[in-house]
Symmetry: C2
Subunit: 119 residues, 2 copies
DNA sequence: ATATAGTACCTTGCATAGCAAAGTACCTTT
DNA sequence: AAAGGTACTTTGCTATGCAAGGTACTATAT
């Protein structure tokens, strides 16, 4: 039970959400996504990303096409399907609700501490 | 791949954090926590909470004492240990960072959409 | 031509942790 | 003593992140 593990756990639930977000902006392939997410300080690695993309594709939320590259092997460029867009919207609602709930909990704790130790 | 499952996944990472928060306010037992979290719209059930409390206790973040009840079986009242307080602070930093990262991602998508469809 | 390096995608095996459901134990009320 | 409520526990399942290793294609250097 270390803080690194706790950070991993927190990240878990939102990876799918963040990846759908990045794809929603336009066609991207895996390395684009890794770069985008890393620059937003959301740590992801290949072993997480590829299986996740496959799951999302199989669930009908994503589609992809192969595109030749001028500097290496071909790439899978992903886009959201209509279902994927709906799903992303639903996830965003969930996230905003959750973030608000946590905000409430933090605030309530702060108030409890203020009451215990009035300045 | 349904939205309910996505909600569960998002919740996962923050349950520990929210539970430590509730305990940080003062001695509580499991039913108190369930009530607190439910009222904050963080859904938790017994099968999740009890094993989690045991894990946190074994990790040295929590301590408890048995207290007789006037209306049923005895209860385990939990408090944070010093280590638990430090851990909670670290988790809060992690949470705030994460929430900020997600906010950035959402904002960036909104901007991308604005650019595509200028009013 | 062949070897090396770089890029891109995929797979395997493991560990963590939420959850539904069933179980145990204690207390109060009738 | 039987029934019902409260509280804590356990079992089996599932989902999913991740480290590590693997496959395959392309470009460059020799």
């Amino acid at each position: 039970m270390n803080i690194e593990n706790a950070q991993v756990q927190m990240r878990k639930g939102i990876l799918e959400f963040c990846i759908l977000h990045v794809i929603s902006r336009g066609e991207v392939y895996a390395s684009d996504m890794l770069e985008e997410l890393t620059s937003a300080r959301i740590m992801v690695v290949e072993g997480t990303l590829y299986p996740l993309l496959t799951r999302l594709k199989n669930a009908g939320l994503l589609d992809y096409k192969w595109v030749e590259s001028s500097s290496g092997p071909p790439r899978k460029y992903y886009v959201l399907t209509d279902n994927g867009k709906l799903f992303l919207d639903a996830m965003q609602d969930t996230w905003l609700d959750l973030a608000d709930s946590v905000k409430t909990i933090i605030k309530k704790t702060d108030e409890a501490i203020q009451t215990q130790k009035p300045s």
